[in-house]
């Protein structure tokens, strides 16, 4: 099967995936309404918890996936600039002076005076270009790789956030609600690529116990969820002059990525990483080689193979199903055993 053209897929995906998306709306919480959140959340949950089930039965939606052909990326940085411009209104407003943290081992992370940094991920730069110069099969390559959140299909950041601030939407978008996030950075710790970045001096923690709990707000690529909800493309895709990125329903994008990889005798990254993501990179060079060639470190994620972070939880879920059943069986056996003993004594 010949994959459809990128342009066709992009238009098709937006039309297919956005109408009546029950979960693409942003929760209506703000810091000011924090104390009212239980009543508000309760009322909203009744509506929103019922709606998806109803909606999903009738109009099952596929998650959106992006495929990046890094053989085409020239590293012009148009996507990085477009991302900054498009998402500037989401960047945090920092209240200075930023409270000193207690205990002193907790460091303030302030990027508010370094908003122009674009050679790594920061709270103000959710997408940057990694470059790898390498040789493969006797040929020299200079590859540019746009790096941002991969939007995992079962995201550990959202699953392990104790506060419900990191979340996954029906569209497959994984994002952080900056009004709710306390900046504990657990999402960054559990993310295999350590994508989310912290900005201290902003967020809900300032209104709670600013010195003793929390440390700001976490920020990362939200794949322009607001644009997607309006039926538009993410800014990085629109701005790309080389059309390296394609967005569409997951099943279609997987076929496209595999066909693209086959056409260039290439390799894919992101399909199986961390149990599956909604971002696939396609490259003419093995990702092991690229991973060795790129600069890695804080804010500069790797391209190494990643095991499913949630695999143990999936296994332990079986124990959580079996345990009460075993308990019921043990309890019933004990009752019968006691009854038999009582009968024998009589």
């Amino acid at each position: 099967m010949t994959p459809p053209t990128g342009t066709h897929m992009r238009k098709h995906s937006v039309i297919e995936s956005t109408p009546n998306s029950p979960l693409s709306r942003r929760p209506s919480f703000s810091r000011r309404s924090f104390l009212k959140v239980f009543s508000a959340a309760g009322a909203a949950a009744c509506a929103s918890a019922a709606k998806p089930a109803e909606a999903q039965n009738t109009e099952k939606q596929e998650e959106l996936m992006t495929v990046l052909d890094i053989s085409k990326c020239v590293g012009c940085g148009e996507c990085v600039a477009a991302c900054k411009e498009s998402n500037a209104h989401k960047y945090p407003t920092v209240r200075k002076p930023i409270p000193k943290m207690f205990p002193p081992r907790v460091k303030v992370e302030d990027w508010s005076d370094k908003k122009d940094v674009d050679d790594r991920l920061t709270p103000y730069n959710w997408l940057y270009i990694q470059t790898a110069e390498l040789e493969h099969d006797g040929e020299d390559f200079e590859l540019n790789i746009p790096r941002r959140c991969l939007h995992c299909t079962n995201p550990p950041c959202a699953n392990l956030c104790p506060w419900g601030a990191a979340l996954k939407e029906d569209t497959g978008i994984v994002r952080i609600d900056e009004d709710i996030c306390l900046g504990g950075a657990k999402c960054r710790t559990v993310c295999p690529w350590h994508i989310p970045q912290r900005q201290s001096g902003a967020g809900l923690y300032l209104d709670l116990l600013p010195r003793f709990a929390g440390n700001g707000t976490m920020l990362k690529c939200d794949r322009c969820y607001d644009k997607i909800a309006e039926g538009k493309e993410p800014a990085c895709i629109t701005a790309c002059p080389e059309d390296i990125q394609t967005i569409g329903p997951r099943s279609m994008m997987i076929k496209h990525a595999k066909a693209l990889a086959a056409s260039m005798n290439g390799y894919i990254y992101g399909l199986d990483e961390n149990g599956g993501t909604n971002t696939i990179y396609v490259s003419p060079v093995p990702f092991e080689k690229i991973n060795n060639a790129i600069e890695k470190g804080r804010g500069r994620p790797n391209l190494a193979p990643v095991k499913n972070s949630m695999a143990n939880e999936e296994t332990l879920t079986s124990a959580l199903i079996a345990a009460p059943l075993a308990g019921i069986a043990a309890g019933v056996l004990k009752i019968f055993s006691d009854a038999r003993k009582e009968k024998q004594n009589d």
Binding site: A45, P52, T153, N154, N159, L160, D170, P324, G327
Partner: protein
């Protein structure tokens, strides 16, 4: 077996409380994870797995006790009813969260947040109720054991 469950109850509930609190990144921040033998409390995934494993043990015990109670149908004390209700709510919200963590399953952001917060709320209320029961001599869950204590 009931005696074993009685002995295990407080340690398992304590483990659940500690690993539940450990879902927030506080143990590393406040040096608890620096105490020899407690480094695992600073590892988010390990704390999560132990919370799951502890929940499985707890669910086994709850199932045994529930079946035994249905056989005897002893009337519950007020404090017992309160604690059992809170534990039931805690278990329900916990199971919903476990389901949410499975691949291909996710709930609305609002519902997920509601579950996270109510799970935390019920845990705190159960802790308060347990302390209140212990401090005021209302430890018994059933009226029969309460009257036996008084004899």
């Amino acid at each position: 077996m009931t005696n074993l469950i009685r002995k295990l109850w407080v340690p398992v509930m304590t483990l659940m409380a500690i690993t539940g609190m450990g879902q927030m990144p506080i143990f590393k921040r406040y040096y608890v994870a620096d105490i020899p033998g407690l480094a695992w409390l600073g590892e988010p995934f390990t704390v999560h797995w132990v919370h799951y494993a502890g929940a499985a043990v707890l669910m086994f015990m709850v199932a045994v006790i529930t079946i035994r109670w249905f056989a005897d149908r002893e009337p519950l004390t007020t404090s017992g009813t309160l604690r059992i209700t809170l534990l039931a709510l805690l278990i329900c919200t916990g199971y919903i969260r476990v389901v949410k963590n499975l691949p291909d399953i996710h709930f609305s952001p609002t519902f997920t947040m509601l579950i996270d917060w109510t799970h935390l709320l019920f845990a705190m209320l159960l802790g308060v109720a347990a302390l209140w029961s212990a401090r005021t001599g209302r430890r018994s869950y059933t009226k029969q054991t309460e009257s036996l204590r008084r004899i």
